[in-house]
């Protein structure tokens, strides 16, 4: 069961890294990457918890394993939505900064109507 300890600590560190990246880096795409790292750290923790629950001939508790599959799909759709939103924001304003007023700094919106 040493893998529980090793990968559990790995999961915690990855989650911390993701948090740091998502907060510190001002580039939205890097924030999205940070969010994905954070998410995968949390998912990995699900896997560790599942592994600890190995019983009845299963290599792991199937419930947290199934939850992770749902979680990965949700995280991917979140990433897709965020990336599309970011690209559209960049195309519309010429900037990808999240600062207040950055939207107004860039080229004024082209107002499709």
């Amino acid at each position: 069961m040493s893998e529980v300890l090793v990968f559990g600590l790995c999961a915690a560190v990855v989650a911390g890294l993701g948090l740091y990246g998502a907060i510190v880096d001002p580039r939205p795409l890097r924030k999205i990457l940070g969010f994905n790292l954070l998410g995968s750290g949390v998912f990995l923790f699900f896997g560790v918890v599942a592994r600890r629950g190995a019983a009845a001939g299963f290599p792991g508790d199937p419930v947290p394993q199934a939850l992770v599959i749902t979680g990965i799909v949700v995280a991917f759709s979140a990433t897709a939505l965020a990336v599309t939103l970011l690209l559209r924001f960049f195309e519309t304003t010429g900037s990808s900064s999240l600062r207040d007023g950055a939207a107004a700094d860039g080229a004024r919106d082209t107002a499709e109507s």
Binding site: E3, C10, L17, L19, P26, R30, G53, D61
Partner: protein, 330 residues
């Protein structure tokens, strides 16, 4: 110390190094490449944790599709990157954030050490009740029976993501078709790959679903393979994304949750509980839902990568377009 724990340590170390690199590297495209590598290594970790189903999902979606999405975005955002990167907070703030993130990570790690032993688990319950569905894969049982509600609602999340992405199109493009942003130029090699690989991939995707009743696999993993094949065909220029107004596309996007919901409501009438399956019919019904779902999920995943429609629908007169885009409102 045997070789296996040492291997675990090695894999965990490499995962961490790549993760650090992903956060620290200056260039975003490099960071994305790092993230893809990280995802693949993570799949290895999942296998070590006894979760091949998750390993498949992680490799396919967490690494593959996410990577495809991010790498294209990184290229398109390169122009404005340096000015935004300059907004990075100063060293004291960064140190503060690093310290706080460390505390959070340490707290999570500390909890790991404090978890009860033996661990609480639902594996015995899942085994004891597997007979009710007739499926041998416990994870499929959890997803399709015990916690079917979550799976059904998650399809709703996927549909919402597609709608959200479409709603970001310019007004004039509504009803038109998405255009794959990173489409290669006409290219013999890619076209060849698309022609050779697609049939294999389609068979493989459906097989992954089919075996999921008793073996690792499932609708998501299968759908990801199908979506990848579709994207490959699109990138090779062998096909086009259909107009978003196409009735058939809309139906493909809702058929998964709709069938799920219908069979669920049928359970309410026939066997007395929403999302329950009548004795003896569980397996065929679950497979029916999964087949509807694989269509929906594959279409959804492809469309999530393809982005919002960019060009307007073909004019009503142009017969060559062949697809009546506005059939949605006859």
């Amino acid at each position: 110390m045997t070789i296996v724990p040492a291997l675990d340590l090695f894999v965990a170390g490499v995962v961490l190094v790549v993760a650090v690199w992903t956060v620290a590297v200056r260039n975003t495209s490099s960071a994305v490449v790092g993230f893809v590598a990280y995802g693949l290594l993570l799949a290895l970790v999942w296998v070590r944790l006894g979760a091949p189903d998750v390993a498949l999902t992680e490799a396919a979606i967490g690494s593959g599709l996410t990577g495809a999405l991010l790498i294209g975005a990184a290229a398109r955002l390169r122009a404005g990157e340096s000015t935004v990167a300059a907004e990075r907070p100063g060293v004291p703030v960064r140190l503060l954030i690093a310290a706080l993130a460390t505390v959070v990570a340490a707290a999570i790690a500390g909890v790991l050490l404090s978890l009860p032993d033996p661990a609480p688990t639902l594996a015995p319950e899942a085994t004891a009740n597997a007979g009710a569905t007739g499926l041998g894969n416990p994870i499929t049982n959890v997803l399709m029976a015990f916690r079917a509600m979550d799976t059904m609602l998650e399809k709703v999340v996927l549909l919402l993501a597609v709608l959200g992405i479409w709603s970001l199109s310019p007004d004039a493009a509504w009803g038109g078709r998405p255009h794959l942003p990173h489409r290669a130029e006409p290219d013999a090699a890619l076209e060849f790959l698309a022609r050779v690989l697609t049939p294999v991939g389609v068979v493989l995707g459906i097989a992954v679903l089919w075996v999921s009743a008793d073996h690792p696999g499932g609708a998501f993993q299968g759908a990801t393979i199908l979506a990848a094949m579709w994207l490959l065909v699109l990138m090779a220029g062998l096909g086009e994304v259909p107009d978003i107004g196409r009735r058939r596309l809309r139906l493909a996007l809702v058929v998964g949750p709709a069938v799920f919901l219908t069979i669920g409501l049928g359970g309410l009438v026939v066997s007395g509980a929403f999302l329950s399956y009548p004795q003896g019919f569980a397996k065929p019904l679950i497979l029916a839902i999964e087949f509807a779902m694989i269509l929906t999920v594959a279409t959804t995943l492809g469309l999530l990568v393809a982005g919002p429609p960019v060009a307007g629908p073909p004019a009503a007169g142009s017969a060559a377009a062949g697809s009546p885009a506005r059939r949605a409102a006859p």
